[in-house]
């Protein structure tokens, strides 16, 4: 199969060939009738037609073909390609130039170039185009056949004429030869008679003369109408008459016996001249006839050439036209086939569409009341196909609530022979309710009377459900917007119409929706200070389709200034049409006021916090100064008391009795206890104030170190430490060491009564949290007092039993809290004690820190 482009090109260039070949064969064929003078014009016409119908390219090809044809057929010598004479070359050049001009001008006015297009412009209907094409083809074929038959007829005529001419020539030649022979015989017999005097010779002479006259007579008769030959023959007869007179004179002289004179006359110059003139005239007649035959033969040869070319070109054109006709017929058949297939496909598609849409088709004969239902329709009504459907049966499946309405609408439509459109519910025998849409259309017969209805019915339950869902969704949205006092608006960029809800109008201070509301109305409500900003935001949103979201102040219809929040977005239909800017608007004045109040309160709060922080910082500074004084100023006198007591003992100890010594020892012990108390307090305050340096701390290693020191300072006791290896925590190593020192130190202290002290340090995982535990088998304590355990200066044992400052656990608690952890204890009197702590915040940093 050719591609369409190749097909069109072939057709267009084929047209150039056909047009030029038609003109050439026509011109040649009818040349004997009309001559070849107008062939140039006809060729240009072919070029023009080609340009008009097929465009520039084919027209230029036609010009080339026309030039070649003209060169070949219409320049001398014809039917061959050869060097041209000056005049012919000029004419040919003129033809080529005109042809090119016609091609360009003719094609300039046309868009696409095809016969069908041109025909399509001339004849509006497709059928007429086809008819035009068929008639054109037939005309071309007929004219070609006519031209060829005419040429053939002409050629046969020519042949016949040529044959006539040839036979006439032979006739003339034969008679001339006989005539010559008669004249020669007469001449010879005269001489013989003169020599012999034999009377037989005289008789022969008379016979030759009469034969010569007879032959001349028949020659004259044969060439009747041929003036040239007649005049030559007349001259011949005159010469012949002169010759006979001379011969007769010779014979009469011989009769008289004047033989010598007779012989003289017979052989004299005059006699010789007469004879040679006679022969010359006979030759002229023969030459003329031969010349004429040669002319006829040449003319016949030219005719033969022309005929061959006409037949050749004509057959070529015929073949091309037949090919075109064949192609057209083939295409027509293909089109008809395509139409048939398309029709079939359409039918198939319609069937599939009906089936796909769950649609059933029906037909209703009004006269007989006969109904025809498709299988789908039966299924649609939940019925089994097969039995004869009836109107009553159909009415039975219609939902009772819709029956009256359906009947009413149907009778109205039938009464006025209109088409109808029903939407109703059906209840199938199973009790399922479905929505069905039925459409019916009246079919008119030739008389315009409606005999029956055609229609379809389809299940629209899904659509009804969707509609219901959309309605509910809209109602919900409307309720939400109304309840939250949010106004809705939508502005169409194409129609410049604005849709607004009542809330929208109320926000702007109107009691109902004003009819006309444009963007400008909105902007005029915006206070002048905000207007430019708002306008530029809306413009930007419209330009680039971005969402917009802004707050601005508006002046309501009643003059009140309110804050509004506007949120909008650009929306279009799925095909990109009807672009709309739509969104919501809400009065946020109360919120704005609240925000302002909150901001003020925040500012005040911030100020208060700063004030409190400053006060706290001052208090902290004071505390630090106090602690510094404690460390420095309170301890100096203690050292003095201790120092001088010792000095007293050393320098005057010999003069003091035992009791004085004991008193001084007590003074020194109390002094040192107070010193330790001060040191512990200072440590406690340092723990609170110092900077934390968090690293991953190896608690096991720390505990081992502490235990080692405790074992060294309690070398007399039996203490067993059990420290789990690999315990780590993130924290400050120095602080954690202090905590462990206190906890393990306490354990050592409160296991003093035990012969075998046992102290454990390990960890458990509880609730995803690592809990460390220091456990001993010491004296324990009553859990009733556990609440005060971690307060400073709180002691659960008498100093005489277990010496201590009551600051250790307070210090531990504070260290743990600084790490965000918690500490608690479990114990019972004489049942040992367990201290649990975590070293990291559970969820968030402890608010105490």
């Amino acid at each position: 199969m050719m591609s369409p482009g190749v097909y069109v090109r072939t057709r267009r260039y084929g047209l150039a060939f056909v047009a030029v070949m038609l003109v050439l064969s026509g011109s040649l064929a009818f040349e004997p009738l009309f001559g070849a003078g107008d062939s140039g014009l006809l060729l240009l016409l072919a070029v023009a037609v080609t340009a008009r119908l097929a465009g520039r390219g084919p027209a230029l090809l036609a010009t080339g073909l026309a030039a070649a044809g003209a060169w070949m057929f219409f320049t001398e010598p014809r039917y061959s390609i050869h060097l041209l004479g000056q005049r012919d070359a000029g004419n040919l050049l003129l033809l080529v130039i005109t042809g090119i001009t016609v091609s360009l001008l003719g094609a300039a006015g046309m868009g696409a170039g095809s016969v069908a297009d041109f025909a399509g412009r001339v004849f509006p209907s497709r059928d007429r185009v086809a008819r035009f094409r068929r008639i054109g083809l037939m005309a071309c074929l007929l004219s070609l056949l006519l031209a060829m038959s005419f040429t053939l007829a002409r050629d046969m005529e020519q042949e016949r004429e040529l044959r006539t001419w040839a036979s006439r020539l032979f006739e003339v030649l034969e008679r001339c030869r006989r005539l010559t022979r008669s004249y020669e015989a007469a001449n010879t017999t005269v001489r013989d008679y003169l020599l012999t005097g034999n009377p037989a010779d005289e008789r022969r002479y008379a016979a030759a003369v009469s034969a010569g006259e007879r032959h001349l007579e028949s020659l004259l008769h044969f060439t009747t109408g041929d003036l040239l030959q007649q005049s030559t023959l007349e001259q011949l007869s005159r010469l012949a008459a002169a010759s006979i007179i001379e011969s007769n004179s010779v014979i009469s002289l011989a009769h008289e016996g004047r033989r010598r004179e007779a012989l003289q006359l017979l052989t004299g110059d005059a006699r010789n001249r007469t004879m040679s003139e006679l022969r010359g005239a006979l030759d002229a007649v023969q030459r003329e006839e031969r010349h004429r035959l040669a002319q006829r033969a040449a003319s016949s040869r030219v005719q033969g050439l022309r005929m061959r070319w006409v037949l050749g070109l004509g057959s070529g054109s015929l073949l091309l036209l037949l090919f075109v006709a064949g192609a057209i017929i083939e295409r027509d058949i293909a089109e008809r086939e395509a139409t048939r297939r398309a029709l079939h496909e359409n039918e198939e598609r319609l069937r599939i569409a009906l089936a796909g849409a769950n649609a059933g088709a029906w037909e209703w004969d009004l006269a007989t009341g006969r109904l025809v239902w498709s299988d789908e329709l039966w299924r649609l009504y939940g019925l089994t196909p097969g039995s004869q459907p009836t109107y009553a049966g159909w009415l039975q499946v219609v939902h009772p609530g819709d029956r009256a309405r359906v009947e009413d609408e149907l009778s109205k439509a039938l009464g006025s022979s209109r088409e109808f459109h029903l939407e109703h519910r059906v209840v199938d025998p199973g009790g399922t309710v479905r929505w069905v849409m039925a459409r019916g259309q009246p079919e008119h017969d030739e008389d315009g009377i409606v005999r029956h209805y055609l229609g379809i019915a389809l299940d629209i339950s899904e659509r009804k459900r969707t509609e219901q869902a959309v309605r509910e969704s809209e109602a919900r949205l409307a309720f939400v917007l109304q309840a939250s006092r949010i106004g809705h608006w939508e502005f169409s960029l194409s129609s410049h119409k604005t849709h607004r809800s009542l809330e929208h109008a109320q926000i702007f201070g109107y009691s109902d929706i004003p009819p006309d509301w444009a963007l400008e109305d909105f902007l005029s409500h915006v206070v002048p200070e905000d207007r430019d900003t708002v306008a530029s935001i809306i413009r930007a949103s419209m330009d680039c389709g971005a969402n917009m979201n802004f707050e601005c102040r508006i002046r309501r219809a009643d003059g009140a200034i309110r804050w509004v929040w506007v949120c909008g977005q650009m929306r279009s239909n799925a095909d990109g049409s009807d672009t709309r800017l739509g969104g919501i608007i809400q009065d946020i004045t109360e919120r704005k006021l609240a925000e302002t109040r909150i901001q003020q309160l925040n500012a005040e709060l911030e100020q208060k916090v700063q004030q409190r922080t400053a006060e706290l910082q001052a208090a902290n500074k004071e505390l630090e100064a106090f602690a510094y004084s404690v460390s420095h100023d309170l301890r100096a006198p203690l050292r003095g008391i201790d120092g001088w007591s010792l000095a007293l003992l050393e320098d005057y100890g010999s003069g003091l009795d035992q009791r004085a010594h004991e008193y001084l020892s007590r003074v020194r012990a109390e002094t040192q206890r107070l010193g330790r108390l001060i040191d512990d307090l200072l440590q406690l305050s340092r723990i609170t104030r110092g900077q934390m340096q968090r690293t991953v701390v190896d608690l096991s290693a720390l505990a081992e170190g502490v235990a080692q020191r405790l074992l060294e300072s309690n070398a007399t006791r039996q203490i067993e430490f059990s420290i789990s290896p690999g315990l780590t925590a993130a924290g400050d190593a120095r602080l954690l060491e202090i905590a462990l020192t206190n906890l393990l130190g306490n354990a050592v202290k409160f296991t003093t009564p035990r012969d075998q002290a046992r102290i454990e340090f390990d960890q458990t995982i509880s609730g995803g949290e690592t809990v460390f535990c220091v456990r001993d088998n010491g004296v324990g304590f009553d859990m009733a007092y556990a609440r005060t355990l971690f307060g400073a200066f709180q002691r659960l044992h008498r100093a005489s039993d277990f010496p201590g400052t009551g600051i250790g656990l307070a210090t531990v608690s504070r260290i743990i809290r600084r790490h965000g952890g918690r500490i608690w204890a479990e114990a019972g009197p004489d049942q040992g004690a367990a201290f649990f702590f975590t070293a990291a915040p559970r969820n968030r940093v402890d608010s105490n820190e």
Binding site: H632, A636, G690
Partner: protein, 153 residues
């Protein structure tokens, strides 16, 4: 020079001064003890100005025991000024104080203190510390070379 070099004790508490003197005596340290009761007096003594005008400045103490909490000019300030002056730049200084505060300890070393001793409450321990100080700084430690008066070193 038969006379041993002096020890300059900068201390405002008379009781501590006497206890220090006693501790030195107990440790058999015979160097004369010069007492300055505040920072100003200490600097006056070192530079031979004010109340100590005319003192031979080249006769530097062998050791300065410096308390930090002092009237008028604090101990840390005395240390800073002494270190800033070429004549006293190399003077061995031991901070002897009751402050165990990290910031004091850090500042003391930053300003060029040679040692930092916290005074214990227990006098026996205090006396022991003084004895060791004297032993170390006056006998074991090699004193810094004399700084030329015109700063020619």
């Amino acid at each position: 020079m038969s006379e041993p070099k002096s020890i300059l004790l900068v201390e405002d508490n008379p009781s501590d001064v006497e206890l220090t003197r006693r501790a030195l005596r107990k440790a058999h340290i015979a160097n004369p003890l010069v007492v300055a009761e505040d920072g100003k007096e200490a600097l006056d003594y070192l530079w031979g100005i004010g109340a100590h005008a005319g003192r031979d400045v080249s006769d530097l103490p062998a050791l300065m025991l410096l308390d930090l909490k002092l009237p008028r000019i604090s101990g840390l300030e005395v240390l800073r000024q002494a270190r800033a002056d070429p004549r006293t730049r190399r003077l061995p200084v031991v901070v002897l104080t009751t402050s165990r505060e990290d910031q004091d300890i850090g500042a003391g070393y930053d300003l060029g203190s040679n040692s930092y001793i916290v005074k214990p409450v227990d006098f026996k321990q205090f006396a022991g510390a003084i004895a060791q100080l004297g032993l170390y700084w006056l006998l074991l430690n090699e004193a810094p070379p004399q700084v030329q008066p015109l700063g020619g070193d």
